[in-house]
């Protein structure tokens, strides 16, 4: 029996414990964007460290930062073999709207071959697959075919504001030939995929202030600017009817995406109606001239993530409010700089705000440029083989509209490429109520990662 065979048998015999591990990991409410969860993040970091120790990794370390800690662990006993940097994150998105969850988001619920909980797919479930793969190889064969270093952080969901100084301060520890990250999606159930592009991200928060306090809309309405109305006008001015963004200079550095990617994207078995049915809308809302996948993977966006002001409770209050607020984010494509786009967007809003209200706009910490990899890298071909064999299905090369800040940072700081092997499904619901992990994918994906470590050696 080969090392791979021994390892796969070990994995199949230990699925019960893998499921227990997953459920336990998902119980931590490690929401990085909410300050009240700081101690949950710390506890989740300690638990992550214990999972890595239990897997047989050495040099397990919890690095204290200004934000939630980073956990690292290594196995570097194959001195002539390549070294992989396996990255993941133990923090999760907030859970609201809580009322739409069928079960409490931090009390994992197993049903229909799935585990439902916040973080089940993004990203605790996926980083755990890597831990299980390494643990199985070590337990079944006594050593790994490659060297590995795990880096598991706790603020990916807020744009990884402390990651760059951490990477720079730990350059020696983190030396590796390739990064491997599972924080994206398959093409479909049973259809593996390698992601070759990610969009970037930059966020802004704005507040408009009109009168110094809320006013009676009868006694003042008609003569005093309503900040909610001004906010609506300003946000409506960002795009034209074709969905193009009108912020001056927004597209300056945007190039058409490569012809090879265009061919790949066009050849994917994508059914727009299935995609739209999955999210419950009848029609797409795309930038003119681009398909759905192009808009999600290869075009930048301007999105209103939150907007509020005035009386929002039950009943009524006929108020002319003092303030209006919005949380905004832009997804970026290659060659758009987060700094530049933030500056241009803030300048745009400053140029259109009328004198009757005061605009306060700022950029929260974090943000990341976009990245694209050539899809003919040798490591990508090894990964294709590992996944295709495990899932018994061809592996697609796809894009991803989301952002994983470390990928651009590794390229920029260490010239390191990243292999993005995602195991999310269309109905995994990351960032949404009823996020879940599909267990057959969880088990088979782990087998794919075992093969990957062997094929990359």
């Amino acid at each position: 029996m080969t090392g791979i065979e021994k390892t796969l048998r070990y994995l199949r015999d230990s699925r019960g414990r893998q499921l227990e591990n997953l459920c336990r990991y998902l119980e931590f409410p490690s929401v990085s964007s909410l300050p009240q969860h700081a101690h949950d993040l710390a506890a989740c970091a300690r638990h992550t460290a214990s999972l890595l120790s239990g897997a047989g990794l050495t040099d397990v370390k919890i690095h204290q930062l200004d934000g939630p800690p980073v956990v690292t662990a290594a196995w570097k006993q194959s001195s002539h073999r390549p070294t992989l940097l396996i990255y993941g994150h133990y923090d999760v998105q907030p859970v609201d709207p809580l009322e739409l969850w069928h079960h409490p988001p931090f009390a994992p619920h197993v049903a229909n071959d799935r585990v439902f909980a916040r973080g089940a797919t993004d990203d605790k479930g996926q980083i755990l697959m890597h831990i299980h793969a390494v643990e199985a190889i070590l337990k079944a064969t006594g050593s790994l075919p490659v060297n590995v270093i795990f880096v598991i952080e706790g603020e990916e969901e807020i744009g990884s504001p402390h990651l760059e100084p951490f990477l720079l301060a730990n350059r020696d520890l983190l030396q590796a030939d390739l990064a491997v990250i599972s924080d994206s999606s398959m093409w479909g159930e049973g259809m593996p995929a390698i992601t070759t592009s990610l969009r970037g991200l930059v966020r802004l928060e704005m507040t408009l202030t009109g009168p110094q306090s809320d006013l009676h809309s009868g006694s003042f309405g008609g003569a005093i600017a309503n900040p909610l109305e001004i906010l609506a006008r300003m946000l409506a001015a960002v795009k034209n009817q074709d969905g193009q963004i009108l912020i001056p200079g927004f597209y300056d550095n945007v190039k058409e995406y490569p012809e090879s990617m265009r061919r790949q994207t066009g050849a994917l078995p994508f059914v727009p109606d299935h995609f739209l049915e999955g999210v419950g809308v009848g029609q797409a809302w795309c930038e003119k001239g681009y398909s759905i996948l192009e808009c999600i993977w290869h075009r930048p966006t301007f999105e209103i993530n939150g907007m509020w002001g005035g009386f929002t409770g039950q009943g009524s209050k006929t108020v002319l409010p003092s303030k209006a607020h919005a949380k905004l984010s832009m997804r970026l494509v290659p060659d758009q700089s987060p700094d530049d786009i933030a500056d241009k967007t803030m300048a745009f809003f400053r140029s259109i705000v009328p004198p009757q209200v005061r605009l306060d706009i700022h950029r929260p910490k974090g943000g990341s440029p976009a990245i694209r990899f050539a899809d003919d890298l040798a490591s990508f071909q090894a990964a294709k083989k590992a996944l295709s064999e495990s899932f018994e299905h061809d592996t697609y090369m796809i894009g991803e509209g989301g952002t994983i800040p470390i990928v651009a940072k590794l390229k920029d700081l260490f010239h390191m490429d990243t292999l993005l092997l995602g195991f999310g499904l269309a109905d995994s619901r990351p960032h949404s109520p009823n996020e879940n992990q599909h267990l057959p994918t969880f088990y088979t994906g782990t087998e794919g990662l075992v093969r990957l470590l062997h094929y990359l050696s």
Copy 2:
């Protein structure tokens, strides 16, 4: 000593008890728009009844309705004298944003010649002035120079949805020659005013639904319509850059207001800069071609009272939300019908909503048309004399941008005119944090009401 003199002496000797009465009345959190305050409204109605009994009125009755009760009381022993219907309301606006209050809104705080509490001026303070005036005349002289019937309701702040059936069912009880209402403002401190016009009101609530649940703005942004963006576009489409409302037919029944009112309004000692400083803004935002006072008193409005959706908490969540909400209201001028304007506005939004989102829009109960009175009514001249003597200052004839639903209903159902004598000041802050009652105005205004009852006899 005349009856008036005896009564004024009685009033001046009982100011301590008047202040106690005011503070006690303001302790009831009688917020009609919030269902959780139903029992507070009932308790406040009972307290209102006890105040009326204590004043020497008879036939005190609490009328149970589907909403908060109406309290009535009468004194009808002068069979050949006119009868006044004195109306007020014991319900108040919500208190949020609570953090802007310097003292708890239902723990009255006396400072700087003022009592700070929700309802201090709108309308508990003002209805209490009428109760004190009647009480003083009865205690000082044994009888009233006119007949009175008090009607004090508990849902004025939500548009008085049950008032019309109450009026129709109690037509005999409510027979009167003139209504008198104090729920508006003076021209300034020490400068009395009679209000000869009120705007109407109609409210709408709308929700836009895009995807069936909140989505990851990276994985879906760019191809799926964001309901917050659509809401901003739809609300921005309501007015043009000149502040004119573009809802088809909105101005169909709007006539220019009377030349006599234009002359009166133009002659008032109005200082725009003082008005703007009072609310803390540098510039007005008026419909093109109209002055500040014209915009507030004589032009209709479209106002966003509340707007919300997506992630509004601390921190960030890069979500493409499922829903976006808005609470809207329109102030109306004479000949605009609330039904018609609500229908036209809903039709407008239905005509511009794109197919990617679902629009749910409805009109909450309540609403009122606008009203204007001729300012040469004999009763208005009697009131001018009473106020001018008490405040030792000329009385101005002014307009009011707010809405008092019963005024239009009394005219429509009973052909009854209403004398609007308001005692609010520019810094009374009705509907806003730190609402307050100016005590010198409270005491002198009550003396004006004593004179008024005599001069109307």
